[in-house]
Amino acid sequence: MRVTTEVRAATRDRILAVAAERFTQDSWETTTTRDIAAAAGIANGTLFNYFASREAIVAALIEETMPDAAKQYRRRRPGDEPLDEELFSLEWTALKSLRRYRNFLAPALETVFSPLATPAREDPGAGLRKTHLETVAHILTDHGIPQPLPAVLLQLYWTLHLGVLAYWAADSSPHQEDAMALLDRSVKLFTASLTGGDGGPHIERKPE
């Protein structure tokens, strides 16, 4: 039987929904791809037609939240904010949209975004990295920062991004306010590295 695009999309969605439920209710460590396949009502081998690993499933779950986060970010964005504020807003909106996955993200991130991973096919975080840094590059361009950004600065941004994400995922403070402070400080650190000054307030949006 030929699998239609609709059926394929529905199966993919089902796998993601079931995986999120399993990771949340059980744990990241104990949930296997076999468990997910069984809960989704598909053969174990079929699951691999969709996702190469548990890490790829988590990367897809994160990716799924991105359109909604982007919508929220655009809606709340005043449009005249300095660079550090805009980056803060982008990152924090993304973190808030991931809130429902927080309890399994902390352990999952260790392998999804392994610092040892290379941008090869098996790196489940590579796509997310690319998409996210493209968004950041757009924002930087809007603020008059010449592109492309040097690779070192891109890596600095991504390192700070992952650091905040990992901290946020395990942050037990009320409303993850410590992670919020860390993000604020990290963004200021990054913008200061662009200008050699103290960042944000000195970098205004380029006139339209």
């Binding site: 709340r76 904010e81 803060f88 409303h175 306010e177 402070a181 604020d184 944000g200």
Partner: protein, 470 residues
């Protein structure tokens, strides 16, 4: 002139032309030069400080000097051990706080340790403190949403994105409620309250060496400091203090405290009525008449002693907490640092005038009935400084007729008295942080009234009644 001294002098009220003629500025400079040039016994401890803020270095240097002095009587070997412990403790202390605001809080606290630093240094630290990092609107919105469950757009008719004032660990924004009322919204930098708390716990590593020389009293002193430090980050407590303080002033007093809006306030956000008015610098820039300065001076004194009568002290010495309003009323705007007197503290204060006039015999009697230890009672130097302190505290009250706070001779004498307190070994050993906070705020009040050049007849205020003199 070294940089430390410049910082200190710049933080002091500027002298008027007349006062400069009467009291050469060099004289005041000499006092502060003496303070600034002091060093701990060994330079290695001093070199340890790498915090960039000069004023903090001054305070820390004092800390090291004074605390080392506490070990002077110990056996040499034991002293080395205790100093090594202290060094480790101080190193930990030095690294406290990943947020700048908390780091500076830690610096301030060194200044607030019992008589470790002279009140002038403490006052300077307060003026020079680095606040929490400035917050942009997106961060503010998140803090408000987290604390109150709604965004500023939902809650307020308008909300100014630029802060109009810095608070010690946050910032203050003007806003308009949907009902049209103008408010000031104080917002705390996220996580800073718990950072301060964690720092204070880490600072407890200093306690073992302190206990060695001060017994269990060190723990109690530390707890007092901890309470005062935590208080500033507790907006709910501040709201409560403000509500109570508002209730003790009548309309006729012409002293205004902002109303709290509880439905717009939480643990990280405090919404208060906005009070329009000038800070002292701007007020003086308009060359106000002597009568107006005297009238404001009288209100400042009235508010100060009126709160004492309710067993509380307006302990934050920041002059920015006083607002000079166009209609002649005085505004008091920050209640994040309030001292509440226990009886053993209130009794000596309320009997200050009696001690000042009765001398040593009355001081002995008052101290004895208010929990002084045998050691304190046998310490003549300590008793003498208590007599002297009571005379200084009571001086404006007992003066009879207008007391000229603008007289630089008075200011100089008062500064020298503070120096003597800080140099007094008995006070260092026995002093309570409560009185350190009290003296700090007393000196700051004096400094404010000195800037105003106010002449205030305290006999027209019911202070004698509040102090039990009538």
């Amino acid at each position: 002139m070294n940089a430390n001294l410049n910082e200190l002098l710049n933080a002091l009220p500027q002298d008027t032309a007349e006062s400069e003629a009467e009291l050469p500025r060099e004289e005041l400079e000499r006092i502060f030069a003496d303070l600034a040039m002091r060093r701990p016994p060994t330079t290695s401890l001093h070199r340890m400080w790498t915090i960039g803020e000069l004023s903090v270095q001054v305070a820390l240097a004092y800390g090291a000097q004074t605390v080392r002095g506490w070990f002077a009587d110990a056996e040499e070997r034991e002293r080395h051990r205790m100093e090594a412990n202290l060094r480790i403790g101080l190193k930990i202390f030095h690294r406290l706080g990943y947020l700048r605001g908390a780091l500076m809080k830690a610096g301030q606290m060194v200044g607030s340790l019992p008589h470790v630093a002279p009140a002038q240094i403490v006052d300077t630290l307060d003026r020079l403190r680095f606040d929490a990092p400035p917050m942009h609107y997106s961060l503010i919105r998140e803090v408000i949403e987290n604390d109150l469950g709604r965004s500023p757009e939902e809650m307020f008719q308008s909300f100014e994105k630029e802060a109009f004032a810095a608070a010690s660990i946050g910032q203050v924004h003007r806003a308009t409620l949907k009902s049209g009322e103008q408010v000031a919204v104080k917002i705390q930098y996220p996580g800073i309250a718990r950072t301060i708390d964690a720092d204070l716990r880490s600072l407890a590593t200093l306690l073992p060496p302190l206990r060695y020389i001060a017994g269990d009293g060190a723990g109690e002193r530390f707890d007092q400091i901890r309470r005062m430090m935590k208080q500033e980050a507790d907006y709910e407590l501040e709201a409560e203090s403000l509500r109570f303080a508002r209730s003790i002033f009548a309309d006729r007093d012409d002293i205004v405290l902002p109303k709290v809006y509880p439905e717009y306030s939480g643990s990280r956000v405090l919404t208060m009525e906005y009070l329009p008015g000038l800070h002292v610098g701007d007020f003086l820039a308009d060359n106000p008449s002597q009568d107006l300065c005297d009238a404001f001076g009288a209100k400042i004194c009235f508010s100060w002693y009126r709160m004492h009568a309710e067993k509380m002290n307006y302990a934050d010495p920041h002059s920015g907490n006083y607002l000079f309003m166009n209609d002649g009323r005085l505004g008091l705007i920050d209640f994040g640092c309030m001292q509440h007197f226990r009886d053993i503290e209130y009794q000596p204060l309320s009997q200050t005038a009696r001690m000042a006039t009765g001398g040593m015999a009355v001081v002995r009697e008052v101290l004895l009935t208010n929990g002084a230890s045998e050691e304190e009672m046998a310490d003549e130097a300590f008793l003498e400084i208590c007599v002297e302190s009571s005379r200084f505290i009571a001086e404006p009250v007992l003066h009879g007729g207008p007391f000229d706070y603008g007289d630089p001779i008075h200011l100089k004498r008062r500064l020298e008295w503070n120096l003597r307190i800080c140099d007094n070994k008995s006070v260092i050993r026995n002093g309570s942080p409560f009185w350190m906070y009290y003296h700090r705020s007393d000196l700051a009040l004096y400094a404010l009234l000195y800037r105003l050049g106010a002449r205030v007849d305290l006999s027209t205020l019911p202070i004698a009644e509040w102090w039990g003199m009538k």
